[in-house]
Amino acid sequence: MSNIQAPTRNEAFAKRLKKRYAAERMFKLAGLGAIAFSVAVLIFLLSSMALNGLGGFQRAELSVPIDLSEYGISANADQFATPSTVQALEAQGLPDIVQISAVTALGEDGASELSSQAWRDLAAQIIANPELARGPQTFNLPASADLAAGLNNEGSPEMQSLADQLANQGVLSENFDFGFLQRSDATDPQLAGIWGALKGSILTMVVTLVLAFPIGVLAALYLEEYAPKNRWTDIIEVSINNLAAVPSIIFGLLGLAVFLWIFPNFRSAPLIGGMTLALMTMPVIVISGRNAIKAVPPSIRDGALAVGASPIQVVFHHVLPLALPGILTGTIIGMARALGETAPLLMIGMRAFVATPPDGFTAPATVLPVQIFLWSDEIDRGFVERTSAAIIVLLLFLLLMNGLAIYLRNKFEKTW
């Protein structure tokens, strides 16, 4: 007995075992490292957007005392209710009043320290609250882009020192910019906002949902419940699987060649954008819908058929309501993907400079991701922060949609 050594006592074996265990640990570490790297990149990506973007929700503003009543700007509430008020105020000389007041308050260079379109901001403030035009008031008006860069310690040294000086006087400050969520695109980062793009996105998503959801659900029902096994259904199935994997830019080419050929007047309209994205979203809805329908147990169908329901009644009265939460989850995920999509919309012309929010499905519009792309191309430093702020808004919407999908899944998911 004592002659037989336990294999672990063998020195060579022990060495080998040690090596194998070391390899095991290394392998495990490599796996952990891969995950740690991915998560670290994600955190870095999100936090760099968040840090940059918080600045984008703020704006450098100069406080300028202006007495509008002195210049005879009438504070008639009725007049302010009409849509052309901004033009009326411009005609009454508001831009000049702002410039003169700025020179009075800030010295000779005062006019150039304000954004050239600062009067529009003032006009919006007066329209919101006509009382302000009654007497002397101090207004916070957007500073020029150069001065704003100076306040962020960027741009030319002169502007930086001027910005420091004005900030010390308490005239120049960074304020939270609510208007960012209310204005539309502008050439001056100080005046740019995302409401126009956001509204364009919402209109586009409505078109996408209205087209893709019914078609997707009905197609899923047909393929899963009624389709006979033959060559045609095979072709349908193959083309749906392929459409789900076709690069999104190809859908843009389709929209350009087909939809814009049929509706040449609707270039860059949410209608065309929504139709293009609907074709892209539909396969996603079909595939997730089929999975949800497949998960409904056959006993439900058999039970309904046994008490005399017709095949259509079985599906619409029993299978569809039970599969609906799953279908909705898939739909929301598909819509979230469509909301973040940029390339196909570039193809169909939704990249135009649109300074007013679209007022319908056929008005020229842009969408949030395209706006991000357009701003990222701007040379002006001020747009860097604005871009990140727009990205935060987009990510919040995506988070909201995905959160809703997860909630629906957890709340209504049934295990049979």
């Binding site: 997707g216 349908i236 076709v246 973040g340 193809m347 991701p369 792309f373």
Partner: protein, 461 residues
């Protein structure tokens, strides 16, 4: 607003027909007493409603497409039209301006010549609007009445309604085929137009890419349309750099999550990785252009590559690789999970460590599935647009240096179609030829990958 009006008319009259038919069906039941109806009253109602809504909506669709042409024709037939320029851009702009003012989407005309067309336009628009509404109402009433008169106690409304529903379901599933066909047809059509101007051999094998959208479209220089640098850039960024990042990271995370991680850890980490796949590509592009590309350039400078540009293939490829990680990971996850656990248990029982089991048993057994997943990942990477548009650059370089700017097929599609060139110019049409190549390649990759996956699943079932 006219399409919406027609739509509402169709739905409103449909509802009216539904209610009327249901009331009639109920009255049958009360009159005939013991004698039963062949179908429930609701089916009678749906029968009439479908007969009203479907023809009216079909008319609304056709009318929406044709009415603008009719309006233009009637305006051109008016007296003022004789003052219009014969043809060309000016004529179009005057007409579109007058139409915009007449329909209320613009406040006033800029071009005084358009002013006299505003009134004819306004008249024509309102006239054709009334005509459209009238025809819609006539159709709705005609069809509604015809179907309403067919209702009888023994009328088999349910089977008829169900037959219609079946047809609608079939049509919905045909949309997928129609879309595939539409993509294919439009790409092929425009590609043929392009090859009518540029020699296909030059396009597929030429090594110089520099289309000039401003050149004379009738006599294009074929040698400027060599797409090899684009194909190389696409493969280099999407299939090489991105995959060098995505395959090891994706595979290792899948292995760790399925074989080592505690279920609770897995439940948290997996959705976190999925977030990477959910971030919009434009955000990745911005990240690549603003953070990664300058960092890479600075690093290249510091080790002596002074030629490094601020846009590089490496930046785009790295970020694209990160984007693809969750995709590779979930495909690898699926195929490892499909390996029968007997194989794993057998290996462990023989004394192999977990990592030996994974490397020598699980991964080889799951290899077909993993390879298919990588193929799908490549097809996704080469079709990715925004990252390369924002970070890879526009210069068509045929080089192996990852620090140089490179351009891809998708970048050039965007560049050619968002430029100023006219739609008939070969430079613009080249985008469709590139799109066609991209479509065929991704289609091929997907087709082969899905086949491999299917066969692999069958092998273990």
């Amino acid at each position: 607003m006219s399409p919406i009006t027609l739509f509402l008319i169709a739905l409103g009259l449909g509802l009216a027909g539904w209610l009327a038919a249901r009331a009639k069906a109920w009255s049958f039941q009360q009159e005939s007493g013991a004698k039963r109806l062949a179908a429930r009253p609701n089916y009678h109602a749906w029968y009439v409603a479908l007969w009203i809504v479907i023809p009216t909506l079909a008319f609304a669709l056709i009318w929406t497409l044709t009415a603008p042409q009719l309006v233009i024709q009637s305006v051109l037939a008016s007296e003022a039209a004789s003052t219009l320029p014969e043809f060309g851009f000016q004529r179009e702009s005057i007409l579109s301006e007058a139409r915009a003012v007449a329909s209320g989407s613009a406040g006033a005309v800029f071009n005084p010549a358009a002013q006299e067309f505003v009134e004819p336009f306004r008249e024509a628009i309102s006239r054709y609007r009334l005509i459209g509404i009238a025809i819609a109402v006539v159709i709705a009433f005609g069809c509604g009445l015809a179907s309403f008169l067919r209702l009888k106690p023994d009328f088999t409304a349910r089977t008829r309604v169900e037959r219609t529903v079946m047809v609608i379901l079939l049509l919905a599933s045909l949309v997928a085929i129609l879309t595939t066909f539409g993509i294919f047809a439009s790409l092929v059509f425009e590609t043929f137009r392009f090859f009518g101007m540029v020699n296909p051999i030059d396009f597929l094998f030429g090594t110089f890419w520099g289309p000039d959208p401003m050149s004379n479209p009738d006599n294009p220089d074929s040698s400027r349309y060599g797409a090899i640098p684009l194909f190389w850039g696409t493969i280099y960024i999407g299939a090489i750099i991105a995959m060098i990042v995505a395959i090891p990271l994706g595979l290792m995370s899948a292995i760790y999550l399925t074989q080592y991680a505690h279920p609770k850890v897995r439940a948290w980490v997996k959705p976190t990785l999925e977030i990477l796949a959910g971030v919009p590509t434009v955000v990745y592009g911005y990240f690549a252009a603003l953070t990664v590309a300058p960092a890479i350039r600075d690093m290249a400078y510091s080790i002596g590559f002074t030629s490094a540009s601020s846009e590089s293939a490496l930046a785009a490829g790295l970020v694209m690789g990160v984007m693809i990680i969750p995709f590779v990971s979930s495909m690898a996850d699926d195929s490892i999970a499909a390996v029968p656990s007997a194989m794993r248990d057998g290996s462990l029982a023989m004394g192999a460590t977990t990592s030996e089991t994974i490397r020598k048993v699980l991964v080889p057994a799951a290899l077909p599935g993993i390879v298919a997943g990588v193929m799908l990942a490549i097809s996704r990477a080469i079709g990715e647009t925004m990252i390369v548009v924002m970070a890879a650059g526009a210069a068509a370089n045929l080089t192996g240096n990852p620090l140089e700017a490179m351009t891809t097929v998708t970048f050039q599609i965007v560049a050619m179609l968002t430029g100023e060139g006219s739609f008939d110019h070969p430079a613009t049409l080249s985008a469709f030829a590139l799109g066609f190549v991209l479509f065929m390649v991704t289609l091929g990759l997907n087709f082969v990958a899905l086949r491999v996956v299917k066969r692999f699943r069958e092998a273990y079932e």
